[in-house]
Each structure stands twice: as structure tokens, then as C-alpha cells.
């Protein structure tokens, strides 16, 4: 009990110290800047020069802590990981592209890539599709907001929590026993034999994907719902006057207008999928052919302690994310230009 207390006091202390440090840094450096380059005594040109010097230093004071964190925790590691991926497991012997060559020949790696591709195809499309359908349906029913709130809820649940929830759904008891897993209860209720869903190769991957789809649909739904509401009502009315039926209105008028949003949602979920780790780790740990890159990397890093191979796999994940990253940056730049 004592150490718990100590830990809590530590946490509170950390908050206080961190906030105090932040305030002290920002307030202090600003004060110092204004003090050292004060414009009080001098006048005219000299004062103006100092004002300008100060205003060219100040942004960097504001940015410094953030840039420091980003450099140490994100930018430096990217380069370091790329470097480590060219060394052997101990990180001392240079092996060139040896780790990558190993990966290409490794059946587990191949399986992971295959599974990742499957995940990439199925999860974003299903989550976006369901999200769109639910958004469309919910927007026209009086209880739509409640429905959206409920569908959105899994967003708040951790991947691990969701894994337990679904493992309970997929629970399997031997044939003849009473099934307490929802899925097997339904299956046996319909007169089929119960299945051990989690250990059926190929299909088990699908059952794991269901978990992520279940989580991400709420995200897609919220974003798409907002986009749908942004469609000018007049365009729908105009189409109706032009004689389009509901399906044509949906596909010809509504979808094109929210296409940009659909793409954004899709790519966002794609990134989540590329990094998915917790679900596999908690449900199967890669057994029964469910391995994915993120989990494989974790194994090589923290079970086998082979930093070279682990890093190589991390770099592969990074490469997969790269196109989306570039696209995002382009988009952000274009937006800034129009501002």
C-alpha cells in the first residue's frame, strides 16, 4: 500500500513539476528576452532594431520544447531505426540489406505481409462502408443521434478491451456443451456445429478484423455524417426535380460531393491498420496464421532481442505509410496556400 501511495504522490508531483517547468520556461525565457533586449531606454532606430530582433527570436522560444520532443522521440528514432536495420541483431556488425533479404525469405514475414494486405483491403473498406451506411440511415431517423452515439462508443474502448469483448463473442465449447459465446450460440441455434473461430486459419484473420472494423466504424460514421450534412440541400432538391430517384441521388449527387472526405477517412483508417498490434497480440499472438507486421516486429525486438531484424520490419511498416504521409503533407501545403 505504501508504494501505491508513493506512486500517486509521485504522479501528482510530476504534474505539478511539469506544469511549473513549462510555465517557468515559457514565462522565464520571454521575460529574459524582453529584459535583455529591452527597448525601454533607447529610442528611435535602436529601439526598433531591438524590437525586430526580439520578434525574430520569440517564435523559436515558443517552438523549442515541442521541437526538442519531436526531434528526440520521433525524428532521431526514424534515422536510428533505418541505421539499425542495416546492422545485425546486436547492432554492431554491418550487414547491409541482409536483414531485408532475410525478411523476404522468411515465411512468417511473408505471411505477415499477406495478412497486412488483407487487413488493408478489408478493414478500411468495411469500416468506411458501414460508417457511411449508418450515417445515412441515422441522419433521417429521430433516434439517429442515439444510434450514432452507440456505434461511436467502441472508439473509446482500448484494442485490448475490445479483444476481450470479442473473444467472449467467439468463445467455443466442445460440441454438445452449452455455448456461452454469442456467435456459437447463434450457429448452434441454427442447427450447425459450433466452431473454434479463433483457430481456423484464414477465417480467424477475418474475425480479428471484425474487431477493428467494429472500433473504426464509429470514426468513419462521425466524419461522414458531418460531410453529409454539409451537402447543400438545394443540390438534392434540384436532382429530385430533375427526376432522379433516391439511389441515383445518393450515388450521383451525394457521394461525389463527399468523395474527398471518404478518401480522408479511408487513409486515416489505413494508417491505423498498418500499425495494428494490440488486437493480434491479445487474441492470438500471431498463432494460427494470423501474424501481422507490427506483431512480428514486436516479437523480434522484445522476445528475440534481434534489433536488426526488428528494425528492418519497422522500416517496412514506415515505407508503407510513406505515400500517405507525402499525400497528407501536399494537402496541408495546398491548404496553407489558399489561406
Amino acid at each position: 500500500m505504501d508504494d501505491v501511495l508513493q506512486q500517486l504522490v509521485g504522479a501528482i508531483l510530476a504534474i505539478v513539476i511539469a506544469l511549473a517547468a513549462c510555465v517557468a520556461y515559457f514565462w522565464g525565457t520571454n521575460w529574459l528576452l524582453d529584459r535583455v533586449l529591452s527597448s525601454g531606454s533607447s529610442s528611435g532606430d535602436a529601439m526598433t532594431k531591438r524590437d525586430n530582433l526580439r520578434s525574430s527570436i520569440r517564435p523559436w522560444l515558443f517552438l523549442f520544447p515541442a521541437l526538442l520532443f519531436l526531434s528526440v522521440y520521433l525524428i532521431y528514432p526514424v534515422f536510428e531505426t533505418v541505421r539499425l536495420s542495416l546492422f545485425d541483431g546486436s547492432g554492431r556488425t554491418f550487414v547491409g540489406f541482409g536483414n531485408y533479404a532475410w525478411a523476404l525469405g522468411d515465411p512468417n514475414f511473408q505471411r505477415s505481409v499477406l495478412n497486412n494486405v488483407l487487413w488493408l483491403i478489408i478493414v478500411p473498406s468495411m469500416a468506411t462502408g458501414f460508417g457511411l451506411v449508418i450515417a445515412v440511415l441515422a441522419d433521417r431517423l429521430w433516434w439517429g443521434n442515439i444510434a450514432k452515439s452507440l456505434v461511436f462508443m467502441p472508439m473509446a474502448i482500448s484494442f485490448v478491451g475490445a479483444s476481450v469483448i470479442w473473444r467472449f463473442v467467439y468463445d467455443y465449447r466442445g460440441e454438445g456443451d452449452l455455448q456461452i459465446g454469442l456467435l456459437n450460440a447463434i450457429v448452434t441455434g441454427l442447427g450447425f456445429p459450433p466452431q473454434a473461430w479463433i483457430t481456423m486459419p484464414f477465417w480467424n484473420s477475418i474475425f480479428l478484423m471484425v474487431i477493428l472494423i467494429w472500433i473504426q466504424t464509429g470514426f468513419a460514421m462521425v466524419i461522414l455524417s458531418a460531410a453529409l450534412r454539409g451537402i447543400p440541400e438545394e443540390t438534392l432538391e434540384a436532382a429530385r426535380i430533375d427526376g432522379a430517384n433516391d439511389f441515383r441521388i445518393f450515388f450521383d449527387i451525394m457521394i461525389p460531393q463527399i468523395w474527398g472526405t471518404i478518401v480522408v477517412v479511408w487513409t486515416t483508417i489505413t494508417i491505423v491498420v498498418l500499425k495494428v498490434f494490440d488486437i493480434i497480440f491479445a487474441m492470438t499472438n500471431g498463432q494460427w496464421d494470423t501474424e501481422v507486421l507490427a506483431n512480428l516486429m514486436f516479437k523480434w525486438m522484445f522476445v528475440n532481442f534481434d534489433y536488426g531484424r526488428g528494425s528492418a520490419i519497422a522500416v517496412v511498416i514506415m515505407l508503407a505509410v510513406l505515400p500517405i504521409m507525402i499525400w497528407n503533407i501536399r494537402r496541408a501545403n495546398a491548404e496553407q496556400g489558399t489561406r
Partner: protein, 400 residues
Amino acid sequence: MTTAVEQAPAIPRASTGRPSWLAGLTLGRALTHLALLVLVLIWTLPTAGLLISSLRDKDQLAVSGWWTALTTSETQGVTRIGTAEAQVEEGGRYFIRGNVFGTDTNKTVTAFGLSNAAPGAEPAGGSVEMTDGGAITVQADGAFEWASDAPFAHTRGPRIFYVSAIAPRFTIDNYIEVLTASGVGRSFINSFTVTIPATIIPILIAAFAAYALAWMRFPFRGLIVALVVGLLVVPLQMSLIPLLSLYNDIAKLFGATDGKTYLGVWLAHTAFGLPLAIYLLRNYMAGLPREIMESARIDGASHFKIFTTMVLPLSFPALASFSIFQFLWVWNDLLVAMVFLGAQQDKLVLTGKLVSLLGSRGNNWEILTAGAFVTIVVPLIVFFALQRYFVRGLLAGSVK
């Protein structure tokens, strides 16, 4: 069906006030209700099942689906009756008494028998002849009485088989067990220890940076914005090994065995949350009216003053959005905590604890369901209480 559809327009529409163009379609509305209902059920039933199960009696939980929680469930049981030593003599007759349930009292016996093949041969209250002599009667409450005219001499108690009904019973015993015996309580505290500082620390750092990127002019500004956008999607996996080595090196410097400290996790989460924080806040701040900043400048406010007296208070919704994001993300995180805090039992956060329970007690559903619910209850409360800000943050973070 037709009448229901015809009445449909009377139903108040979704809060947008947007007239439904589907209303004209006969049957359409009824189908819409039905389709959405099915979808909502799919999305809520798994969680509902978990919650209900976690509150059920652990015997019931193990033998019947949670959807039967309100109905009585039947199980079979067996108990061994005492030997001759347990007999008592009353008025020249000999008795052995007891209860098939021991002290467990919420069950009732519906039938009993003497063989495994026919556990329900005799309804409760009836009596059955015993091979060792005499007859046995089992009451519905489980009390049995074996009576004989001659004294008992058996050395091995015979078995009675019975069918018992368990009345629906809800209990928080599972939670009590999970929080105390399984160490989930400790993990709960660990999760808070990790989450609160990791949520608060990045806010100020990000807010200052976001302000600079939104409202100050300096060289490389566009480049830094692009960098932040790029870092938004960098996989965490890239950072793990280099950071762990870095932490270990630093730990060695201070003479510690490894670099797994709460401080390390706080700082890591702070850094990993920064790109989103800066991006969200910068977008929001850039949308504040320019005239307000200019007016403040003319009034003599420095950038520091503008930031603290104008931008911070006006950015409250964005700050709230980010805090919720960061809170949920840190609370729900498994990877960062596992790597930077380690897997020792006393340092496990809730997600890590749950994974370890899955491994060690994968079939003890009373532990797993209660444990899982403990891990998700805090985010759920935060989510439902602050959904508005959460949604706003999502929209700002991705549509823009």
C-alpha cells in the same frame, strides 16, 4: 405495415431538421428503422454481453450464455453423503442429514437420483431406496435425510446426483475479486499514474508551438508545419528500439538497472501526442479572427500576452478536444506502456494487465469480463460525458 409507413411523417425527424427525401418511399422508412436497429444491435451487443456477464454469478456465467441471465439455469451436481460415523439415532431410527449444496444457498434442487445416468430420476421431495439400506429424501432446498431402521455401517458414503436450478443472480463479487485478488486494482492506479501527467504535459508545450505556427512570422514556418503533418502518421514502432536504448543509456548513467520509469512513459506519451496536438491546435488557432490578434497588438500586447490572454481562453474547445484524445489514447495504449514501463506485475497498466489475464486465466470469464469492464469504464465515462468535444476534435483533425 402500410399504416405504419403512412404514419411515418408524423415522427419527428433527426435534429438537423433536414427533410428526409426517403420519406416519400413507401416501406423505406420502416426498412430504415429496421436496418439501423440491426446495425446498432451488432455494435452494442458485444459490449452489453460483457457488462452483463461481469455482473453474473460465476457459476452461471460458466454454464449459460449471458442472454439467459434473467432466466433460471439448470445444472447437474453430485455430492457424497457422509459415512456411518455421521449417523444420529432418534427414537430407534437412524439418520444421516446434510445439504447437497453445502452452504451455497441460491440454488434449488428440482430432481435427484442415484446414478450418473439418471440424475433426475425422482423429483425433489420424493424418496429413493438405498442399496445400503433405508431410503433418502432430498428437499428442494437441498436438505437431505437418509433414514434407516437399522444402524448404518458403510464406510464409503454413496453419491447422490441431482439437477439444480440456479435463480438469476447478479453480484459484484467478480469485481471485488478482480480488483483485490487479481491485482487489477493496482493496475487501475498505475493507469491513472501514467495517464494524467501524460495528458496534461503536452498541452502547454503544444499550445505554444501551435500559436507560433499559426500567428507568428518566421523563416521555415511552412517547413515545420509540413514536418508536423508528416510526423502525424509515423508508426510508433519506428521509435521503440532507439528510445529504449537511449533510456537504458541514461539509466546506466544514473546507475539504475533499466530505463523503465514512469517519467520515461510520460515523456514518451507527451512526444507521441505532440504532432496531433500541434496540428489540431494550430488549425483551431489559425481560425480565430485575425482582427482580434491585431487589435491586441495595437493595444500593446506582446505575443506572450496575446497567447495567454486571448488565444488560450479562446482555444478552450480545441484544448478540450485534444485532452480527451490524449487521455483515451494513453489510457488505451498497450505498446508504449509495455515497452517503456515493462511487464512486472506491479507496473502493469490496465491494458497490460488484461493481456496477462487473457494469457493466464483465459477461460475464467468472471475474471476477464469484470477485468475488461474495469479497463473500459473510465474511457466510456469520459467519452459519454465529453462526446461533443471529442467529435469536434475528430472533425477538426481530419476533415480540414
